[in-house]
Amino acid sequence: MAEMTMVQAIRAALDEALADDPRVMVFGEDVGALGGVFRATDGLLAKYGESRVVDMPLAEASIVGAALGLAVSGMRPVAEIQFLGFAHQAFHQVGQQVARMRFRSQGRCAVPLVLRAAFGGGVRTPELHSDAFEAFYAHSPGLKVVMPATAYDAKGLLAAAIDDPDPVLFCEPLRGYRLVKDDVPDEPYRVPFGALRVARDGSDVTLVAWSAAVQLAERAADALAADGISAEVIDLRTLVPLDVDGLSRAVARTGRCVVVHEAPLTGGFGAEIVATLVESVFYDLHAPIQRVASPDAPYPLAGVEEFYLPSVDDVVRAARRTLAAA
């Protein structure tokens, strides 16, 4: 057991997978000598050689398309998309091809592959790097969408993603890469998909989040606790599969819910959470469910991102609204 940052935990999972299974390949833009722009693949080229850790030409669609073909050939590709914002240039390969290849071939051409992508804001990246586009992918049946919030989960969920027989989009929060640190076992382990994590116990209101928004919700819970409000924080871990039962049980218990995400409000995955809860626990609710999200505006330049992203205060206010309701 050692304290690790999220990026170290991701590297550990990749290292274990490469060591365990000769079919595993890691490839993407700048993953070799540089070790990835965030160093998630640091040292792997030296350890495993250039047939298993491959610098790819700068072309997202062929990174994803080739990953699909490699998976059909029997390899276990783990491709890095440098920033999820750039995955638009591969979206046809992800949403239309990877996600439905099993379905279209009636099971013959399964594509067990992992697309790792850094995403999200808060680190003053240049334009078009920071978007939280997870909802596009959650809306692409056949794909699984994994959103770790802790270093422990990053390692265990990535190991599970590499084992998974289906394609997985694994989103890594830019903000969490070095900021998030927690204890990570040295030995291999898996964190199962579709089982949410209670990041913090609480009884008055449930804050639902994923990825970097979990830490935001936890800070909001701290602020609420100072006022005697007990906020539960739920980390969904995976959007697909979604832990509908765990989510419903949690919100039924408190009767109040705030969903927090970085993506713009309209069509964000928060809408899916709210709709799900309205179907499952409407009569247990004491107040309308609130959403805290970015505005329906494009991700802006770095100088104004603090005005764009949801803040701790936004979450606190939303939680208070649920408590103020009669």
Binding site: M25, S51, M56, P57, A59, A61, S62, V64, G65, A66, A67, L68, G69, L70, A71, V72, S73, G74, M75, P77, H92, Q93, Q96, Q97, M101, R102, F103, R104, S105, Q106, G107, R108, C109, A110, P141, G142, K144, P165, D166, G194, V240, P241, L242, V244, D245
Partner: protein
């Protein structure tokens, strides 16, 4: 493709393809078949290229106008029929048949074929991947990305570009200002050549050379097979709006099937009787495939939920079960 027996077998497949074009179009007009794309005019291009592959080790990554190549590779005609009847079961590829599903999204199969070829090579399998696409697909970014990657990793892949002159209604001259499409290969570091796509032997020879090159570890080849799409793009298309009837007559005169028949009968007049016997055999084969395709379970609601994931998530299982109860 040296013996007359081989050529006869290739001709039979070309004629089966032509016969199925008519049958499929007729069924489509009766509402018994979905929109589909006929091969008509491109039989030498498709069959000659497929003939250069070894179905026991090589892979085909198709587009959607290569029926006889798929049949030679082992994909059952009944599956093809089911697919175009709208039955998802038609998408099933029998184990041991080395092909990826029919591709509808233009050019998306190209980087996939490169990844497949690359992966087979990494696993030291003696396999070559042949990927079909058209002149329209050569304008897509996926074509260029795929060629670029294939050259870099020396993937054992043959890019088989069927330049039939048309992308639906858009003529070749509106796809690219380049003099040829084959010449693009040089920019990616591998050979490209044009071949007369209506000449079965020329197509076979060019493809066999590319396959041998790939098998020897020398990397990809781009073949631009110049042919004619004599019919419509598909059964929903109306080429009278954009094709000059005089051109259609010229294309018909270059019919690749008649050409092979002439060759065989000049070599040995006795082949005529063999060739004539193909027709009833083929009609019978198609009828049997149609019967096969309509046997079995037929379509059912459960198919909507099958093969989405290896193991359906709880939410999808609930949707499926609710549907089965009539309580969606």
């Amino acid at each position: 493709m040296v013996s007359d027996e081989d050529v006869l077998a290739a001709l039979r497949l070309m004629k089966l393809s032509r016969a199925f074009d008519s049958k499929g179009a007729s069924l489509q007009r009766q509402g018994k078949f979905g929109t589909f794309s006929q091969v008509g005019g491109q039989e030498a291009s498709v069959v000659g290229s497929a003939w250069a592959l070894d179905p026991a080790r090589d892979w085909i990554v198709p587009q959607y106008r290569e029926l006889p190549a798929l049949l030679r590779h082992g994909y059952p005609l009944a599956h093809f029929i089911r697919y175009f009847q709208g039955n998802p079961a038609g998408g099933a590829i029998p184990d041991g048949v080395r092909m990826m599903p029919i591709q509808i999204s233009i050019a998306a199969q190209l980087p996939q074929a490169v990844g497949l070829a690359w992966g087979l090579r990494l696993q030291r399998q003696d396999a070559v991947v042949l990927v079909y696409f058209g002149d329209g697909a050569s304008s897509e970014g996926d074509f260029h990305e795929a060629c670029n990657l294939a050259g870099l990793v020396r993937a054992p892949v043959v890019f088989f570009l069927q330049n039939n002159g048309w992308a639906i209604s858009t003529p070749r001259r509106k796809q690219s200002a380049g003099a040829t499409l084959a010449e693009r290969a040089s920019a990616y570091g591998f050979p490209g050549e044009q071949v007369n796509g209506n000449d079965l032997f020329a197509v076979y020879a060019a493809t066999a050379k590319a396959v041998a090159r790939a098998r020897a570890g020398e990397g990809p080849t781009l073949i631009e097979s110049l042919t004619h799409r004599v019919g419509p793009h598909n059964t929903a298309d109306d080429p009278t709006r954009y094709v000059d009837p005089a051109d259609v007559e010229r294309w018909r005169a270059a019919d690749p099937i008649a050409r092979v028949e002439r060759y065989l009968c000049e070599r040995d007049p006795a082949h005529r009787a063999r060739i004539d016997a193909f027709e009833p055999e083929i009609a019978d084969e198609i009828e049997r495939a149609l019967v096969d395709a309509s046997s079995g379970a037929g379509v059912h609601a459960g198919q909507v939920y099958e093969h989405v994931y290896a193991d359906p998530p709880a939410r999808l299982r609930r949707q499926r079960d609710a549907h089965a109860r009539g309580d969606r």
